[in-house]
């Protein structure tokens, strides 16, 4: 609860700090301090210390799981600002406002991690995405950024409309917005109209697929991720996407029984389509940024495995997956921002000119591909293990398909490594500061740490 209140307040603080100072370095440091405060406030909740104790009237169900996800999201944002903070203030002349918007996004993320009511789901999604429309279009003179912002906005608002229709139909069938009450609501069984409920859930499901960019509703993703300023793409592809998955899993953890067998078939189709579209299209991309956009669709396919299995391993696994994926993607984008040329050829010979950047980039890509000894391996392992646990023939086939597509993903990740190490060329980068190198090393260290000991992260959760 602290995180929700503090993220909104600190966003306002960031906004006012823009009036007091225009020094970009100072603004970045204020943002780092505010994020640390937010992290402390959230950790205080772990230990049952509340700033304000509010009766939320069943709107929220605060629990350890939500708090732990908040901790992961805030820490990832902290690392993100630590690595790319200098590039955030460089996007335009409103450095403090960008950070303020990032705080407002975090407010939405923290709402989504512990909502217990469809009203809060709706508000969380909106608080999370509206600032993102602005961040996407923050490079105001750049036509690509404009186009991405308009496309993201129209698609986002459209999917919100669909979600609201779903919520209205669910309300019609059950008479309540609570996410659990729908199963056990006996008071108005007289009026219960199951068909409305199923249609409503389908509407909400479709709109959530829009938000997490799963096929067949992924078509906006590559364009938006490509057009947005790279620093904000990094944020959108990691923290925001993970929050969407947490929301999706919380919603359907209670509801899948009502949808019955058809639901699993539908989900399998969505997973396979997402993996197929993401991986196969990524193979043909020449621009690394666009390749990463498609790879983020492919990773979304893997995260959907948790929605299919819905057991304990999946709950742990999705936390590990979001951590591994966020760390690796933040690092990859941080290096991408420093490159002069965003195409694959732009990376040629990076190992000679910037050996450290090439080495850490290799670790990030290994983690994204799921090579052992990196966090990505155990993340994928947990996802596949959770599907195996559900039993049945479909589970085995799903795992085989998952492994096959993980192998496909090796191809396009290794193309970047090949360009860096085995091709001649002089990859031009902008100025690399020692603190940037240190931040990259920190990210790489965390990835290796969670790859060697995934319990180090999950142990924190059970602690």
């Amino acid at each position: 609860m602290n995180a929700i209140i503090f993220s909104a307040l600190l966003g306002v603080v960031m906004m006012f700090s823009g009036i007091l100072t225009t020094n970009k370095q100072a603004i970045k440091n204020i943002a780092l301090v505010c994020l640390t405060l937010l992290l402390v406030a959230n950790l205080a909740n772990h230990y049952e210390w509340y700033s304000i104790k509010i009766d939320t009237k069943q709107m929220f169900s605060f629990g350890k799981y939500g708090y732990f996800f908040n901790t992961i999201a805030i820490t990832a944002t902290l690392l993100y600002v630590f690595v790319s903070g200098d590039d955030i203030v460089k996007v335009g002349s409103y450095g403090a406002e960008y950070f303020a918007l990032i705080f407002f996004v975090l407010c939405g993320v923290t709402i989504l991690s512990s909502y217990n009511n469809l009203l809060m789901l709706f508000l969380g999604i909106e608080i999370m995405t509206i600032p993102l429309y602005i961040l996407t279009g923050s490079d105001k003179k750049n036509l690509h950024s404009n186009e991405a912002a308009l496309k993201y906005f129209l698609m986002g608002a459209f999917s919100t409309g669909i979600m609201l229709m779903g919520i209205a139909l669910l309300y019609g069938s059950s008479g309540s917005f609570g996410i659990e009450s729908i199963v056990n609501n006996t008071s108005i069984t007289l009026m219960k109209v199951p068909i409305l409920e199923v249609i409503g859930l389908m509407f909400v499901f479709v709109s959530m697929l829009f938000k997490v960019s799963a096929a067949p509703f992924h078509f906006w993703t590559p364009d938006v991720y490509d057009g947005a300023p790279s620093v904000f793409t990094s944020f959108m592809a990691t923290i925001v996407k993970s929050a969407g998955f947490i929301a999706l899993i919380t919603l359907f953890a209670n509801k899948s029984e009502e949808l019955g067998k058809l639901w699993n078939i539908l989900l399998v189709i969505v997973i396979i389509a997402t993996l197929l579209v993401g991986n196969i299209t990524a193979v043909f991309q020449q621009s690394v940024k666009r390749m990463l956009a498609y790879s983020s669709i492919a990773q979304a396919g893997f995260m959907l495995f948790a929605l299919y299995s819905r057991n304990e391993i999946a709950r742990d696994g999705i936390l590990l997956y979001t951590t591994a994926y966020s760390l690796a993607t933040i690092g990859t984008f941080a290096i991408l921002i420093k490159m002069e040329d965003h195409s694959l050829d732009g990376y040629n010979g990076l190992a000679k000119s910037q050996p450290l950047l090439a080495a850490t980039q290799t670790i990030f890509l290994f983690s994204l591909a799921g090579i052992p000894l990196t966090a990505g391996f155990f993340a994928k392992y947990f996802m596949l293990a959770s599907v195996i646990r559900t039993g049945g023939n479909a589970a085995i086939y799903l795992v085989i398909i998952g492994v096959l597509f993980a192998a496909v993903s090796l191809y396009y990740y290794f193309k970047v490594i090949q360009a860096m190490y085995f091709k001649e060329g002089n990859a031009a980068t902008t100025k690399i500061t020692p603190s940037f190198k240190f931040a990259l090393l920190l990210l790489a260290f965390l990835i290796i740490l969670f790859g060697v000991m995934p319990d180090a992260l999950l142990g924190l959760f059970y602690f």
């Binding site: 009203l119 709706f122 508000l123 909106e126 509206i130 429309y133 602005i134 279009g137 105001k140 003179k141 036509l143 690509h144 404009n146 186009e147 991405a148 912002a149 308009l150 496309k151 906005f153 129209l154 608002a157 459209f158 919100t160 409309g161 669909i162 609201l164 229709m165 919520i167 209205a168 139909l169 309300y171 019609g172 008479g175 309540s176 917005f177 008071s187 108005i188 007289l190 009026m191 590559p222 364009d223 490509d226 057009g227």
Partner: protein, 111 residues
């Protein structure tokens, strides 16, 4: 009036909105169609709210069932207003750069 009429009317408005979003090329009109979708939802929520109230009223005269449906409508209005301000700002930004609000412009990133 029976609830079915409200459901048919709001589904019709919603469908008009969806078709408008998919067919029209002018960003402002697409935007208006999205608003139409939201308003169809508002109508449906209010109708359902009244329906649940009437059902509960039969057994308990002092019931407050159905209030939350109307509360939700207020939230939708507020969020839609916030979305309008951001959306129009984005459309104005685009208009300043290309002097058009045609959605067909949105094809440059494909290549």
């Amino acid at each position: 009036m029976p609830i079915q009429y409200y459901i048919y009317l709001s589904l019709a408005l919603f469908s008009i909105g969806i078709v408008g979003v998919l067919v029209r090329r002018n960003a402002i009109i697409v935007f208006m169609c999205i608003e139409l979708m939201l308003n169809a939802v508002n109508l449906l929520l209010v109708a359902f709210s009244k329906m649940h109230y009437n059902m509960a009223h039969l057994t308990n005269a002092e019931t407050t069932v159905g209030t939350e449906g109307q509360l939700f409508v207020f939230f939708i209005m507020v969020v839609a207003a916030a979305e309008v301000s951001v959306g129009l700002a984005i459309i104005v930004m685009m208009f300043r750069n290309i002097h058009s609000v045609d959605v067909n412009f949105l094809n440059r990133l494909k290549n």
